[in-house]
């Protein structure tokens, strides 16, 4: 267990628990839902979001020794969550590109095209229709900074100041990123529906 997990870092209040094991569990309990929902905003899928949230806390456990307290512990944790989610999306995009290439040359794996089980489909979780997929695709075309600022702004519990801390930028830059993300999303969706 990480030894440098002072009591003050957990919940911002002193705790009677002294074991690092207990303190880490308490840290997870405090931040798990925020981390889970942050990942969920990016991946639109509960199962993937849970796996990512687990990876986030494992990274926190591994790197807590290197945490220099230059930012709040929560900011540092949410930054890890954002990085892991973006990495996950990049991996998915690479996989998609590779799948379409395989389809083109006739080597497609039938498992790739199987529908997700009921209840795990992003569309079902979000609004149970094609809008969710369309939105997800449109979001994935945005630059990472715009996507992150926009998705975090949509999540309850993050102020613009906190988003700025996570992205290591200013509040005005966050406002600008959110504005540009909204406009780009609108334009992409508008183009799609106009062509129909």
């Amino acid at each position: 267990m990480p030894q440098n997990l002072p009591e003050e870092r957990v919940g911002g209040k002193r705790s009677a628990m002294t074991s690092p094991d207990e303190r880490f569990k308490s840290l997870v309990a405090e931040h798990q839902e925020m981390v889970l929902n942050t990942c969920y905003r990016f991946v639109f899928n509960r199962e993937d979001a849970e796996d990512l949230a687990q990876d986030v806390f494992i990274e926190v456990f591994r790197s807590l020794v290197q945490f220099r307290e230059e930012s709040k512990l929560s900011t540092w944790i949410y930054r890890i969550a954002v990085t892991k989610s973006l990495d996950h999306l990049r991996r998915l995009n690479r996989k998609k590109r590779f799948s379409s290439l395989k389809r083109m040359i006739g080597l497609a794996d039938p498992a790739d095209t199987l529908a997700a089980p009921a209840g795990e489909n992003p569309a079902e979780t979000c609004a149970n229709n094609e809008r969710a997929l369309l939105l997800q695709n449109a979001l994935n075309t945005l630059p990472d900074s715009q996507k992150t600022a926009f998705l975090l702004s949509k999540q309850e519990g993050f102020s613009n100041q906190e988003i700025a801390d996570i992205l290591n930028t200013s509040v005005s830059a966050v406002e600008s990123l959110v504005h540009r993300a909204k406009k780009n999303l609108h334009d992409k969706l508008y183009a799609f529906y106009a062509e129909r």
């Binding site: 839902e33 905003r41 509960r46 979001a49 456990f61 809008r131 309850e156 969706l189 529906y193 106009a194």
Partner: protein, 122 residues
């Protein structure tokens, strides 16, 4: 045309609103249990690997020390043996000298006295 635009705008706004309509997830009790299991598996394994490498380090150090002692012994013990041979030669030589000195000379000389039988039967 305006009606078409309105329809498109309405579709866009409905799609954008999906993000606001996302119901926040609740982490269930198994989340932490699974996490702690993974941590035990991953970091317990690392500790075991670390311990193994520490043992390996000790073994390697001992083996290196033994090898060095072995090499050192071949380098330094050989002249000692030569020295020992020289000393042995000197001892033998000195022993030889001692027996050839005047004090021990009678060992080499034949006896000059007669035995009792010789005396009786000359």
């Amino acid at each position: 045309m305006n009606k078409r635009n309105e329809t498109v705008e309405s579709e866009v706004s409905k799609t954008m609103q999906l993000l606001d309509a996302m119901v926040p997830l609740k982490a269930d009790h198994r989340f932490r249990v699974r996490l702690m299991q993974r941590i035990d598996e991953e970091f317990g394994q690392t500790n075991r690997t670390k311990n193994f490498s520490i043992h390996l380090d000790y073994r390697l150090a001992i083996m290196t020390l033994l090898l060095m002692l072995n090499v050192a012994s071949t380098l330094f013990i050989k002249p000692d043996e030569e020295l020992k041979v020289n000393v042995a030669d000197q001892v033998v030589e000195s022993q030889g000298d001692e027996y050839s000195t005047q004090e021990f000379a009678y060992y080499d000389q034949t006896a000059s006295y007669e035995t009792q039988s010789e005396r009786q039967n000359p």
